[in-house]
Symmetry: C2
């Protein structure tokens, strides 16, 4: 696995560029990410990335897609290990969501920004839909268990999704002031569940 000596063919250029790209994303931000800089870091000429990514946007799209895959896996894992109680499940989901998004602020922003760009690969929108489907399923389960009011589950899931996404925005934009994120997130879920509960 050691690749200290680099012959003409890098052998692993695509993955190396993605790894360097994700580092650069969180340190300098998507706007300042430079393809030439990544090539330098990885030790190839500035034109070499072209073989693997048609342009800068293609590399950003690949980073976003990769992010969605890990994001979805983390949400699935949280639910799979969460037990059966509805409140516990939705708390587990919220913690996984907020945890992923606040440890990778630039990536989560890129993920949702790339998704709807003109010419974005359809896999991106599909991956985002799969992540949203997890939240939808939880709402449907909650309705079946009588813990959530009846009504369009898509709408209720979008409200829940908005709340989580907003908490992430507050945390990542440094608007928490002195609020600890964990307590704020759990309090938000508590209020949401009360608002979703039948009277």
């Amino acid at each position: 696995m050691s690749a200290t000596a680099r012959p003409y063919h890098h052998g692993n250029l695509r993955e190396a560029l993605l790894a360097a790209g994700e580092r650069a994303l969180e340190t300098t931000g998507a706007a300042n990410l430079s393809l030439r800089e990544l090539a330098r870091e990885v030790g190839v000429s500035h034109a070499a990335p072209r073989r693997h990514f048609a342009d800068r946007q293609a590399l950003l799209d690949a980073l976003a897609l990769n992010g969605f895959e890990r994001f979805g896996a983390q949400l699935d894992h949280a639910l799979a290990t969460a037990g059966e109680d509805f409140t516990t499940r939705i708390l587990a989901l919220a913690r996984a969501y907020v945890g992923f998004a606040t440890t990778r602020p630039a990536l989560i922003e890129l993920m949702f920004a790339s998704k709807h760009q003109a010419g974005a690969p359809p896999e991106l929108a599909q991956a985002a839909d799969r992540a949203f489907a997890v939240a939808l399923a939880v709402v449907v389960d909650g309705q079946a268990a009588g813990a959530v009011v009846p009504g369009d589950p898509e709408r209720l899931a979008k409200i829940a999704f908005a709340l989580l996404q907003g908490l992430v925005a507050i945390a990542n934009n440094h608007m928490l002031d002195d609020q600890p994120l964990d307590a704020l997130r759990d309090a938000a879920v508590e209020r949401l569940l009360l608002g979703f509960a039948p009277r």
Copy 2:
């Protein structure tokens, strides 16, 4: 006020650049906004903006600050014309917030992104705080009226703020699917008020 003939001194360069900048922001996005392009549009040399904005970021900061001022004014106006009923007031606030943010997607993103950048002018953070203070005041009023549970109003206001910011993110990232935004926003406020109400 006509300035068709442009002598050596533009006379209004700062405002002209800001106006062109806000147009460019919404059409091409902050990442693709080019200072040289703005100078061309406005009819000055590429170095002229330097007199009014130290660098590209300074122009973006000025756009964000201007945005926060209009945003705050719109929120204030919505509350001033909203009557006294708590539910009505919070609905008016939500409509003003979501309305402003979804008609200027790139600006609202820039506003919250610029706010916490290293070296950002302190006026930005202050303007953001003033906008948040509006939401906080509504929560405090709701508690006084007995429509909102007691407890840290900062925390409750942040939850309300997160919900609105998340709705904006969903709308601006094209995740509404077939949900009409107005109905989703009003339903979200309804659920929030139920979750905030004393039992």
